[in-house]
């Protein structure tokens, strides 16, 4: 399926990047690839913002009495870090960047089903983001990203309204994206591309979209109620006026727990692609990985109460939620075993994306297993709201989701930009990030079991040493994140041309030119085989 045009150098060929120039051609584009790139720039901006907050927090914790800031400022820092990283980086990261860029190409479509809604979703996202940034600049929010009542409604005078409104608005961009993806995957697949010929990334994005569609509206209405409660001083969640603050927690976590799967499922999809591509072997247990994504999305909606074991929730509800939480561990375990089995008798190479993928499996394994501690009622009773929880969800969200995101960016970067980045640097960065990450967050498991509560600006001196280690790790981690930013930007201009398929990978996106032409394919591809058919590739290499 090679097209003669891909032989031409990048500059002399019409592709989505050079088909039109000028700021207007970007701001008014309906091309899913350009929208994906706009999301990439936006979330990188938010990531830097949230990252700076994280670094300041870690610096402050260098001293038990706080090195830099007052507790008041520290509270605003971790609230900002949480709100921005969760709602404006993690949730849109893979879906809005790689999902937008890849889904139409992976299924052989010219664009998503609703390109204008797709553009609208970016504007909605940016509006929400700007409102949240306004809240930060105007003086900050100090409720944590969880907005627990009655603190957020009756006891704080920070900019809760603006931040909640920002998150509320950004939610609609998730809804639009999810809606677009589901319809696109259902209705726009190329001829011959049946469900079980879809790449696993598509399955993961489909599962993610389900969560977007069914979960996001609930956080929207919950935050709207917070706003109304603040505004009119009514008591929907305020016990002083007859409300129930635990109801807020139910409604908040009904979305916000599945939101964790919004972060990790797409990463799992990316890793499934990477493991197969760099082992040059068909993924092991395709059907099980595909269905486990759907299972995680579905069961993920039944487990939110494990955030509330010690909240004053009913004992019986706690038991039910604990049992269901264990259930969601099974499909995750199935995935890890299948990835490992894929390596068996492969032909494994270690370019940077593969290092990220292997790092993902390791860190996600630790993150997933420590999740079992938190699902266990008696242990959660000890470690709830301590650094153990902080470490656990960073292992999932940063060790898992961000590693997957970076792996995906590196893997598809030649497709996005048409150029290669220096692989040596990329491997070094991947290793620095892996080491820095573990150094930052592993000590926090110990801190958590020792009992250090989360969201503490100052802490008892016996936790000092471990906090210093953690901060040291964070500085390494921060450095690790800066390196890719530099060489990826550099490669956009100076990198050698990648060609349509630098990794010799399967998948429709690798059959078109890099960067792809405006409508992805010169002619609509017809699919005749299962995904990850590296057997055919083996034959081709032998022939060559």
């Amino acid at each position: 399926m090679s097209s003669p045009e891909v032989e031409l150098p990048i500059e002399s060929r019409v592709h989505y990047l050079n088909v039109d120039y000028g700021i207007k051609s970007w701001l008014l584009t309906t091309d899913h690839k350009r929208i994906g790139l706009m999301y990439l720039v936006s979330i990188t901006f938010f990531f830097c913002f949230g990252g700076v907050a994280a670094i300041l927090m870690r610096l402050n914790l260098l001293e038990p009495q706080g090195l830099l800031v007052e507790p008041e400022t520290y509270n605003k820092l971790f609230s900002m870090h949480g709100i921005i990283m969760v709602f404006f980086f993690m949730i849109p990261s893979i879906p809005a960047v790689l999902g937008n860029f890849l889904i139409p190409m992976m299924i052989g479509a010219r664009d998503v089903a609703f390109p204008r809604l797709n553009l609208l979703s970016w504007y909605v996202f940016m509006t929400g983001g700007m409102l949240t940034l306004y809240a930060v600049i105007a003086g900050g929010v100090d409720t944590g990203w969880t907005f627990y009542t009655p603190l957020s409604t009756a006891y704080t005078n920070t900019h809760v309204m603006a931040a909640a409104a920002g998150v509320f608005i950004a939610g609609f961009s998730s809804i639009l994206t999810g809606m677009n993806f589901v319809v696109t995957i259902h209705k726009m697949r190329a001829p011959g591309l049946s469900w079980f010929r879809l790449p696993l990334f598509i399955w993961a994005m489909y599962a993610t979209s389900i969560i977007f569609i069914l979960g996001t509206p609930v956080i929207a209405i919950t935050l709207a109620l917070i706003g109304l409660e603040r505004w009119f001083h009514v008591g929907i969640f305020d016990p002083a006026l007859g409300g129930d603050p635990i109801l807020f927690q139910h409604m908040f976590w009904f979305y916000s727990h599945p939101a964790v799967y919004v972060m990790i499922l797409p990463s799992m999809g990316v890793v499934s692609e990477l493991i197969s591509a760099f082992s040059k072997k068909k993924i092991f247990g395709y059907h099980f990985i595909a269905f486990s994504s759907i299972a995680i999305a579905a069961i993920g909606f039944l487990v939110w109460g494990h955030h509330m074991f010690v909240s004053g929730q009913s004992l019986y509800a706690g038991l039910v939620f604990s049992a269901l939480s264990f259930a969601v561990a099974i499909p995750s375990a199935v995935k890890v075993f299948n990835w490992t089995a894929t390596l068996y008798k492969g032909s494994i190479s270690y370019e940077a994306p593969m290092l990220y993928a292997l790092g993902f499996i390791g860190l996600f394994t630790i993150g997933g297993l420590t999740g079992l501690y938190l699902a266990t009622l008696a242990i959660d009773q000890h470690v709830h709201d301590t650094y153990f929880v902080v470490a656990h969800f960073h292992y999932i969200m940063v060790g898992g989701a961000v590693m997957g995101y970076l792996g995906g960016i590196h893997y598809w970067w030649p497709k996005i930009s048409g150029r290669l980045y220096p692989d040596g640097w990329a491997r070094v960065a991947a290793i620095i990030i892996f080491v820095g990450f573990n150094l930052t967050f592993f000590p926090q498991f110990i801190l958590g079991y020792l009992g250090m509560p989360r969201r503490y600006a100052v802490y008892p001196p016996e936790f000092h040493t471990l906090n210093v280690i953690s901060t040291a790790g964070a500085s390494i981690l921060g450095l690790g994140y800066i390196i890719p930013l530099i060489y990826l930007t550099w490669s956009m201009r100076y990198g050698p041309e990648a060609g349509p398929n630098p990794w010799h990978a399967t998948g429709l996106e690798w059959t078109t030119a890099s960067p792809p032409p405006p409508h992805n394919f010169e002619e609509t591809p017809v699919v005749t085989e299962e995904p990850y058919s590296y057997d055919r590739l083996a034959e081709e290499i032998q022939v060559a």
């Binding site: 609703f114 726009m188 569609i213 069914l214 996001t216 139910h250 409508h519 609509t524």
Partner: protein
């Protein structure tokens, strides 16, 4: 494979694909709406269970006759909306305009009744939480909670109706200019789905808010 026919957007292969995609998209949007209202219904259900008698007391402060009348108004507007879609399907432009106009008119009647005959009176009667709440009977704070839900639920519903009226105005202008044909009436159909959905929400709001417990 670009379809030269103007009624098919370029990302689609043909009209069938386009129609199926937009219907599915609309239904998915309505699913998100179900969850959006669902959050409110969940909260309402919880407090109703906790404070049953207070909620019944509060419900009896509402005028069920007006509520029932408004239900009828909304059902009528649903009928005219369905007939508008029918007219668009069969290419009857004048009827389409007439039915769209009557749907909008009935929607306006509903909103008038809601805001002027109900909200305004409830405000004057001191039943508006946060603004003017003077009810002093037993369980006052729980009655206030009921009215919180009453105003928020009917308010969110009314916002949906106002949005619908706005979109319908645009469609009306488009219909006036002859933008729709039996080959291209997707927007009218999607509008119909939205409007009926808003009707369905009210169908649940009416008994939940107005008809709690027996009234006599």
């Amino acid at each position: 494979m670009h379809n030269s026919h103007a009624v098919v957007a370029e990302q689609f292969d043909d009209r069938v694909q386009q129609h199926e995609a937009s219907s599915l998209g609309m239904w998915i949007f309505l699913a998100t709406e179900i969850m959006f209202f669902g959050g409110l219904f969940t909260g309402y259900t919880i407090y109703r269970n906790l404070y049953t008698s207070a909620f019944e007391t509060a419900s009896h402060l509402l005028n069920a006759k007006i509520g029932a009348f408004n239900t009828v108004v909304l059902i009528c507007s649903s009928l005219t909306m369905a007939l508008a879609v029918h007219a668009a399907q069969t290419g009857k432009r004048k009827r389409l305009i007439a039915f769209l106009l009557s749907t909008m008119g009935l929607g306006a009647v509903f909103l008038y009744i809601k805001f002027v005959l109900e909200w305004h009176h409830e405000y004057l009667d001191g039943l508006a939480p946060g603004l003017h709440f003077t009810y002093a009977g037993p369980h006052a704070s729980r009655v206030e909670l009921f009215f919180c839900f009453y105003f928020i639920m009917t308010g969110v519903h009314a916002v949906h109706m106002i949005v619908g009226e706005g979109v319908m105005t645009v469609l009306l202008v488009m219909a006036w200019r002859g933008a729709f044909s039996p080959e291209k009436y997707n927007p009218i159909e999607m509008m119909g789905l939205y409007w009926h959905f808003v009707d369905v929400v009210w169908i649940f709001l009416f008994p939940l808010l107005y008809l709690l417990g027996a009234r006599f």
